[in-house]
Point group: C2
DNA sequence: CTGAAAGCGCTTACAG
DNA sequence: CTGAAAGCGCTTACAG
């Protein structure tokens, strides 16, 4: 910077102003300085700048994992907003581990982040203490609770699953099972289960302990759980899954066993992953605009940076997308296996002619929004 | 820091040493300093540290987009390695725009990144000039070329598609079409097309201009292209797609039209996305270990940081995964439509009884590696 | 509109 | 093993 100043025959103060408060510098000098900077390929040093101005222009974001379309999308939206506003994004992954999350928070604080976005509430209290202590604006994304002590931008997981439960109950299902991802250190999943139980209870349905399967959020666990569920004496007529991955696995296993979806069995997911509306049977699920969550979080944080407006919570809607995997149970009474011999766990013979059934993508009328913007890859 | 020093009754130099060169400080003083730091919730300020030490401990990574499983995975691997080594990750997306890529490079340079990972070569030369000028170690990821002027960690796109072409030709296909993503500002796609043409030429097959469809990397474009291709007078018996997304679209459209895959038509993809081995017909495609690319890049850069070892190139293999969407053409002569009336673009009647066919996921023997580590979401 | 100078929070020779 | 002090590259009152 000193060299630039020398070349342009001005002081370093003037060089600084040209790039930070150009209105305060005359045009002729501005030009001279810009030319000098260009000639020397000078790029201001952020460390010096941060130290002097007490502003780092660094924003932090911590998510559980990038191996998930929904979080990647949030980051995508956030990154765009930050980039537009001169912020760079420091990214951290907690891998669903609160302790690792705290580490990331500390590392980011040390790096001088001005603001921070975090997915969910599952961090040690110390993490939030540190943020408050330093006056770092932060926002929790993805989940939203009216009674949250933190500003949050997302949707109400509990209400969303209450809605799914209400819908399934309204269809006439009496016997319902669930396949969920792990609940530990995951406030969102806990809320989903609460909403689910609440909705079922309101409809006079109980979720029995043996009908709730909890495990890895993979298609394989979804499939395995479905096989176990359908091998029981009294089969459910509907299965509510904690997310789309689990639902995809469950569907494929169900079709494999020869069940007719949705007539024999209704299945729901959550997330509306890109693939699920392009596969037959198209999955009934809920959609959350994660790109928008990321954008809103970014905007709020940019505004809050440097002591601006405080961060405001925003509640987004989760939209139920009714598609082809749900319907009323076959008989009004509920076509449970109990109506049959009921004791035959091997009653898995295909009911259709297909030698091997499974989920199938279809050319169907689906929401085309995703394809409007030209996607390119890789 | 001054307060910590005062509380511990030492100089700031000693406080600094406790955290950076603990071996040089006596145990008793170390303890005093650590206690004081803890009591004051002190976290060293990275800007001051970076300014004084000339080391920022910030690593940069620029990818085209996070909306893609493969890049997200690379970042995931890289982030883990960086975190283990005390580096924080600054993430940028170029959206496949070289100019935006240069912006990101400049912003990151200003932030003081010590090292940088970039996907591909499509950046203005100035970007690389800046990096060399400042002696910032960098590495290109994903693509690999033996004759690249830059260190790179990835696979040979050209060789990979040469392999696909060779395989398809070896099956006996004579008439082959292709559906690809845009080639502009994408060296990897260019290389793929070269490899494809090379392989076809070696097998005496020409890729005619009308048989090459280039457009958005979406399922929809894949489907649309397939319909166009199969409406032509002389239909191909095989279609090579630039990636899995396009292939998924093509398959769904083909099944929809009643074609039997692979007997009527072989289709290949690239990427081995999580879903494609769980869908029927399972896609023949190629797999690249993107997590490993990210990890290797991270390791190389960590070692190169602060004037360590220079970054070394690494070539990874792309593995052909032969699955259910490829086979020899139905007849030895190649069952092109030319053998039929040939002039009927409406010859799209379903040949099977399925009212609506499509891709289907299946419970099948597939590579379970992905599921070994418990995945959790959301 | 411009400049001289203090200072942001650390690290690091240098001296002891 | 420890400390005094210079300095990293900027910004920002303050003065003119």
């Amino acid at each position: 910077m000193a060299e630039v100043a020398r070349l342009a025959q001005v002081s370093t103060a003037t060089v600084s102003r040209v790039f930070n408060e150009p209105a305060k510098v005359s045009d002729s000098i501005q030009q001279r300085v810009r030319e000098a900077a260009a000639a020397l390929h000078w790029i201001p040093n952020a460390a010096g700048r941060a130290l002097a101005s007490r502003r780092s222009h660094i924003a932090g974001a911590i998510i559980p994992t990038l191996d998930n379309e929904i979080f990647a999308r949030q980051i995508s939206g956030m990154q765009a907003v930050f980039a537009e506003n001169g912020f760079t994004l420091l990214l951290g992954c907690s891998n669903y581990d609160p302790a690792e999350g705290l580490n990331q928070v500390q590392a980011m604080l040390a790096q001088g982040i001005e603001v921070l976005a975090l997915v969910g509430e599952n961090y040690p209290p110390q993490a939030f203490d540190l943020l408050r202590q330093r006056g770092i604006p932060y926002v929790l994304t993805y989940g939203f609770r009216h009674d949250s002590p933190h500003p949050c931008i997302g949707f109400d997981n509990r209400a969303a699953f209450r809605q799914i439960a209400d819908y399934i109950v309204s269809l006439g299902h009496k016997r319902i099972a669930a396949i969920f991802q792990p609940v530990d250190a995951n406030d969102r999943v806990v809320a989903r289960l609460e909403g689910l139980r609440e909705g079922l209870a309101a409809g006079g349905v109980t979720l029995r302990a043996t009908d709730l399967h909890i495990g890895p959020s993979s298609m394989d666990f979804g499939a395995e759980s479905l096989r176990r569920i359908m091998a029981s004496k009294t089969r459910p007529t509907a299965i509510i899954c904690g997310n789309d991955n689990l639902a995809l696995g469950a569907i494929s296993a169900a079709l494999d066993l020869g069940f007719d979806i949705p007539n024999d069995l209704s299945i729901t997911g959550f997330d509306d992953l890109a693939i699920v509306s392009r596969i037959a049977p198209q999955l009934t699920t809920m959609r959350v605009d994660n790109l928008e969550i990321g954008r809103l979080a970014g905007q709020q944080l940019v505004q809050a940076a440097g002591g601006g407006v405080p961060v405001q919570s925003h509640e987004l809607r989760a939209d139920l997308r009714l598609r082809a995997t749900t319907s009323p149970p076959r008989s009004a009474a509920g076509a449970t296996a109990a109506a049959g011999d009921g004791n035959d766990a091997d009653d898995h013979k295909p009911r259709h002619q297909q030698p091997r059934a499974g989920i199938r993508t279809q050319r169907v009328e689906h929401d085309l929004q995703e394809d409007k913007k030209q996607r390119r890859a890789p």
